[in-house]
């Protein structure tokens, strides 16, 4: 089983961290992983994206020409990946910022208003962690508690108060999606 996910958004939205958190968590669960960030001139325009591959066996290519999942944090990223995600794939959209009606019939779309949820939580910068909660809930590639463990044990969220906030953010994201898909 090999799962390819792209994460895309503005620089500063924590897009690369989302990918890193997924790859690190999956590795800690004994999976094969690759993490490939866009680099050089591609990242100078203020957009950022990365590709994470999680697999039970050897990974041939860290590139995703047709990813299974796309985590889309802004409008330009939706344009970029709308026709790239594979048939039957899932796109998680940051509906706080994405108002475009562009959709595909053969892809499942999950709206998560992560910026609004982050504000409600009291920490605007937790939007990306909320999205990871939603991602875990929708895809099952990793478990919420494993993401939480990674945050606790790898220095990604060292301080206890930051850790607690991140835990809550993961839960908020997961619950938002659980509600939306009920």
């Amino acid at each position: 089983m090999t799962v390819k996910t792209v994460f895309s958004g503005f620089g500063g939205q924590g897009v690369l961290l989302m990918g890193y958190l997924l790859a690190l968590t999956a590795m800690r669960q004994g999976k094969e992983v690759t993490y490939l960030p866009a680099y050089g001139a591609e990242m100078r325009g203020g957009t950022a994206n990365c590709t994470v591959v999680v697999s039970d066996g050897p990974i041939a290519s860290p590139v995703a020409s047709s990813p299974d999942y796309a985590v889309i944090m802004n409008n330009p990223s939706l344009l970029k990946y709308l026709n790239v995600v594979r048939q039957g794939g899932v796109m998680l959209l940051n509906s706080s910022l994405i108002h475009s009606e562009m959709r595909r019939a053969d892809v499942t779309f999950v709206d998560v208003p992560v910026n609004d949820l982050a504000r409600e939580l009291g920490e605007a910068r937790s939007a990306n962690v909320i999205m990871m909660g939603a991602y875990a809930q929708v895809t099952g590639v990793v478990q919420i508690e494993h993401l939480s463990e990674t945050l606790a044990e790898t220095g990604l969220g060292k301080k206890p108060e930051v850790l607690e906030l991140n835990r809550r953010a993961l839960t908020v994201g997961a619950e938002a999606v659980a509600k939306a898909t009920q």
């Binding site: 790859a23 992983v33 490939l36 050897p58």
Partner: protein, 363 residues
């Protein structure tokens, strides 16, 4: 030691430090800027020396000096920068100095682009600079192998007093993969070098040079190098064969191309195609002998490279006309998918009637 998730450029740097490398001289160029960045910080921690030089020329010449003085030393760059370093690499070879040079290849020629490529194969394996020499060229196909080969590179450089090149590509420099590092080497415990320039105290003067004006003496030096290269070929040639026992077609690929080819082969094997992978781990010396032996059994070889076709010439030389050699090359920084490669394999396989019964298929 524990498994870490690390970027290739950082892994290269960390493995060098673990190998006892305490001197790094470099110049920024994408896609390997993270190597000098990492070394600037890491060498500070271990009491080493990092210099961001004014150019690739200066940095390779600092490497020459550090090697003369006996230090374990490395530089890294990407294609255009490696072209600039060629003068110094030729001197390293002529002066028989150990050094490690990493090339995270990008698309070329000229400024090209910053996407991953394998288009510097000729430059790396044919010497690259002027004169009659070879670099030992290692081609890792994963981040773990990048770590292992970096440690090996320093030992090979010291053992043969020869420059060793680690040939990666932009993707290998940028991507993260799990890696487990080996135990660190204590630089103080490395074998003593009895040829370094450290001041003629209680011994005669030492001279390190490559200029030998008398043709007979230079010829003798050239043949000395040739004997050294023969020894490297004899002792250090490395390769890997996967699924080759029953194969009717073998894909020859190295580095990033080899891992993509591996994925393609797993796909076509599921459909019953008898296809194997031949992966050179040393590009110079090229594993010509095992490939030739393989070509006695497997009459069809598809060379897959991320360039317009360079290693394919070594494949052709190796098999001595005993096998048909075809090329699937993707230059310009394009990374084909395993599906693309699987398609090429299938096309060749069925086109040559290899699915039909009989030894070696339709050969």
């Amino acid at each position: 030691m524990t498994k870490k998730l690390m970027r290739g450029s950082h892994v290269l740097g960390e493995a060098a430090v673990l190998a006892g490398c305490r001197y790094y001289f470099g110049y920024p160029i994408t896609p390997q800027n993270e190597v000098p960045e990492y070394m600037s910080r890491r060498l500070l921690e271990v009491g080493g020396t990092f210099i961001q030089a004014e150019s690739e020329l200066a940095s390779i010449n600092m490497v020459i000096g550090a090697a003369m003085a006996g230090g374990r030393v490395m530089t890294s760059s990407s294609s255009p920068g490696i072209s600039l370093k060629q003068e110094g690499i030729s001197y390293l070879a002529g002066q028989e100095l150990p050094a490690v040079i990493a090339n995270m290849i990008r698309g070329g020629p000229g400024l090209g682009n910053i996407a991953p490529s394998q288009s510097d194969y000729f430059q790396a394996t044919r010497g690259g600079g002027h004169g009659d020499y070879r670099c030992i060229v290692l081609a890792p196909a994963s981040i773990q192998e990048l770590a292992d080969m970096t440690l090996q590179a320093f030992d090979l450089a010291d053992k043969y007093r020869n420059p060793v090149m680690i040939l990666g590509d932009g993707m290998m420099g940028q991507m993260m993969e799990p890696v487990t590092f080996p135990e660190p080497v204590d630089p103080a415990k490395l074998p003593e070098k009895d040829w370094v320039l450290d001041g003629a105290k209680d011994r005669p003067q030492r001279i390190i040079l490559s200029m030998l004006l008398d043709p007979k003496i230079l010829e003798a030096h050239n043949y000395k190098l040739v004997r050294k290269y023969d020894a490297v070929r004899e002792n250090e040639t490395a390769w890997e064969m996967t699924d080759c026992d029953d194969a009717r077609l073998v894909v020859a690929a190295y580095g990033t191309a080899a891992r993509i080819a591996g994925g393609a082969i797993r796909r076509v094997r599921q459909r019953g195609l008898k296809v194997g992978l031949f992966r050179p781990k040393t590009l110079w010396p090229f594993p010509a002998k095992p490939l030739e032996e393989l070509s006695h059994r497997v009459r069809h070889i598809l060379t897959f490279e991320l360039c317009a076709g360079q290693m394919v010439e070594d494949v052709q030389l190796a098999v001595k006309g005993q096998a048909e050699v075809k090329l699937y090359g993707r230059p310009g920084g394009v990374i084909p998918t395993p599906e693309d490669v699987a398609h090429q394999i299938s096309h060749y396989y069925y086109g040559a009637h290899l699915d039909e019964e009989g030894p070696g298929g339709g050969a």
